[in-house]
Symmetry: C3
Subunit: 265 residues, 3 copies
């Protein structure tokens, strides 16, 4: 398995005060490569110093939000506990944190697959507006690894404990209607109304007071109870607990070999 | 703009062991004046020392719960950061805390507008029973100011983070059906069944053990995770961050002049 | 009132990697006796040291999950504050903790009554799959006592503050549809599809990586904000506050005499 020749892109477009951040990885359901996670951090940094931008929309190209991390990079990026630490803590966690700490109102425009890392990005946004045909999940149990703490924390903050356990233990993929009923989404509209609805909301957010939005976001974060963050020692122990396991090897190998994993041998 | 000649009233009525606290500000959708916030504190104090009362119902007069704080008082009560501190921390926060810490079962009987300070009162009650035609929101973003920490904390405890952000960032006003789906309400009934349902529930609560209700309420509060309260320095910084802002001036002026605010100049 | 001659049983069955734990107390809707709570601790201990088991299903015999603690034992097991402390803290709390801390995926198969201690057990499971005809509640207010802290904490973690207050203050018994809408359940299926659905899910869980499930469960627990646990002094004060109250005596006596309690004299 070699590195994909086209590792995907994250593009930034502006329309008035609205910035659109688009995940694009053609033919791969916008799977998020290392280069794409890093581009998210860079783009959010640019936006934070641009007073003309007042709302940020996250979306995926070509009818899907994102199917998650780019699994074809796994053999090279995730070879041992140290590499896993770097991949999750130094590549993915900073990108999610950049979105979650963005002082501007953020909006996920969700159609098609919103899975794994895609769902993690959506959960960092303030609002999640989905088309009726979208689907949501984090079925990484089939790949033989658990969700990393920073990623799980964002899902937990939106979905709550019971739904997070359901998504992780069952590896369920939810319809938009089920995801809405379980509190994962702000709103669901017909697929062919989605663009109009997102445009309407983004335009409205961009017309609001950026100061008020920033303070409201800060106050919500300040008042939301949170567990103590993992120490580096805890994170090291987390990755060491499964990086070299038979289940992890079996899960990733089965995926790359396009077969069902067998965890029971 | 002079002080309203009729600043509204909060009245207390008893029917057996049930106390009803009614917000009334005729022609103003029961907008809550300083005098009314102070009356709530006084009335809750009276009730707490009256062993004959076993349930408290909060309602609004004439078909609405409350449209929120009395905006006509803003020019006089909220002139600078110090006045804002006093208005929110010394007038509103004690009233909300008096409701939230009431040892008796508390029930919000909600019809019509339940907005801003009205929603904040409802969120401090143990149960929220609404008619199908009620509406819920806190669209204060249009007024150019954020929600104060004590007020936001009560909303957050009922609505959770995602719904709180939706209400504050979009300024959305929800139907009863949507508010129920999002967890803001205990129950929704047809408007013409609301009085009967509230009476049934209040009668049932009043027939229960006041000791058991008090201990259950205390245990729920004791076991609910909460962020550390804001220090006075944090509160002072919160009000200083927006009190003298152009957005705050524009929002309140636009409201008083009955025009749309323009926050983008 | 003498001790029930048949105090009920908890049985363990294995089918491949799936362990089924069945509450059975014939003619009593599987009311949970002291012997049954203790059997739960013993069985979970056995399962935790058996690597062949990969999923645990909790269910009740004969069409009901469980109607809760065995009230016929109350006069003998709960005579004063010290006995209450022992009953709740040394009998019930360890059983709930054994389920909640089980490292394997746990699944509640719920039909019929899921009430009181039955609901408390279900809330300790990772997933709750119910038939449409099941019913949920904790109407112990009619018995004149509040919910003990460890038990309430489990309900609160699944249901949230507003729904917990509704269940305790109103003593409401919810249908499956309402319990699902309020976030208490993972899924509701037709009663005659329940066994097939539970079997499907348990088989799927058992085929997954036990390591991944264990780590995901640990990470969710680690990241879920929690209040400080009650100290022993707080627990002693909790039981002392109501053990010898007129309301507690009236509630239990009324139940045993099959009449409505009168808490208002």
């Amino acid at each position: 398995m070699t590195r994909s020749p086209a590792p995907g892109t994250v593009t930034l477009q502006r329309s008035g005060a609205i910035a659109s951040v688009t995940l694009s990885h053609p033919g791969r359901l916008n799977a998020i490569s290392v280069a794409m996670w890093q581009a998210i951090v860079r783009i959010l940094g640019e936006l934070s110093s641009d007073p003309a931008v007042r709302c940020v929309v996250f979306r995926g190209a070509d009818g899907n939000f994102s199917a998650g991390g780019d699994i074809t990079e796994f053999p090279q990026e995730r070879q041992d506990a140290g590499a896993l630490f770097r991949y999750h803590q130094e590549i993915i966690a900073p990108a999610l944190q950049a979105i979650g700490h963005c002082p501007l109102p953020t909006l996920a425009w969700i159609e098609g697959a919103c899975v794994g890392g895609g769902l993690e990005i959506a959960c960092q946004c303030d609002l999640r507006i989905a088309g009726a045909g979208a689907r949501f999940g984090a079925p990484i149990r089939h790949l033989g690894f658990p969700m990393a703490p920073d990623e799980l924390g964002g899902l937990l903050a939106v979905a709550g404990r019971a739904v997070t356990l359901e998504l992780l233990l069952e590896g369920r993929v939810l319809t938009s209607a089920d995801a809405y009923a379980k509190g994962l989404l702000t709103r669901v509209v017909a697929d062919d109304s989605l663009e109009a609805e997102v445009t309407r909301v983004a335009t409205d957010l961009a017309a609001g007071s950026a100061l008020v939005a920033r303070i409201n976001k800060e106050t919500v974060r300040r008042l939301t109870p949170a567990a103590a963050p993992f120490s580096e020692a805890e994170l090291r122990a987390f990755y060491a607990a499964w990086s070299d396991s038979a289940d992890h090897r079996e899960g990733v190998n089965a995926f790359l070999e396009k077969r069902r994993p067998n965890f029971t041998v």
